[in-house]
Subunit: 135 residues, 2 copies
DNA sequence: GACGAATGCAACTGCTATTGTTACGTAAGC
DNA sequence: GCTTACGTAACAATAGCAGTTGCATTCGTC
């Protein structure tokens, strides 16, 4: 694994789950399949649980499974659940400069960024994890 | 400055230059205005010179100025000159896995990413650095 | 009730990318 | 020749992320 693997790991795992929604999978199994670590899996999948996409159960014969039917989970849901702007804000956060040009630029660029991010989310929303398998 | 400041620095500097295209500015002046370091400025502006957007002159009374009229330089030109994908590739580079679902996912997601990146470039191409000043 | 299996979570270690900094070479003008 | 400025290499400092270990907690089974 390398960079920005959170989204990759999440989508990969959910897509597999879509093929057998009732099966419980342990983070160890998932980590093994994804070539990573159980703790990493729990970290990422925990975000998806908070967003209501997954449910997890502790204890013996515990594990993870989908909290919703696979055709009701879109790629956008996963993207948003992870809360990671792929569209980097592209501007040093809150640089309160007194430069008017800086402000004009920031308005212009961040406007475009918001547009593009919405476009990304919209496009991702067109595909459910159930559809990915057959794609 | 913080993160992803290259694009920010480049756009900011070019926008200022657009207001007085013939004036030579030293990297020290630019760095001072942008709150960073002359070497950083030269690093970033060097990419823009390679792309033909800026010219630099050494020696006494040297410095930087626009290589083209400001209304012929779009935000997309700057973005492309820096060669940094704001749209992170979102998939661990070349993970040659034998998992068919992984492949299907990768095709789908990277297809959307390419679309969105094109859309970003297209939108940035609609604005020149000359227009930013009045925006 | 004890044991084993699983998540939940905190802390720590690398690894990588980026920025900032220093230093030195080179070219242009005075 | 001296000053000024770019060009570049090398290094330190920082931040984010994946990976790892350890331990508490919870649930099922014996």
């Amino acid at each position: 694994m390398k960079r920005n693997s959170r989204l990759s790991l999440a989508l990969h795992t959910l897509s597999h789950m879509a093929g057998d929604p009732d099966r419980l999978r342990t983070s160890a199994d998932i980590a093994d399949h994804a070539g990573t670590n159980p703790v990493v899996v729990r970290r990422v999948l925990g975000r998806l649980r908070e967003a209501g996409l997954l449910s997890s159960e502790k204890g013996h014969s515990g594990g993870w499974k989908l909290a919703k039917p696979p055709n009701e989970i879109t790629l956008a849901d996963v993207y948003l659940a992870l809360g990671e702007n792929l569209i980097a804000s592209a501007e040093g956060d809150d640089d309160i400069s007194d430069c008017s040009i800086e402000h004009a630029l920031h308005r212009r660029v961040s406007g475009v960024m918001r547009e593009v991010e919405q476009s990304l989310i919209s496009r991702l929303g067109e595909t459910t994890i159930a559809e990915v398998r057959g794609a």
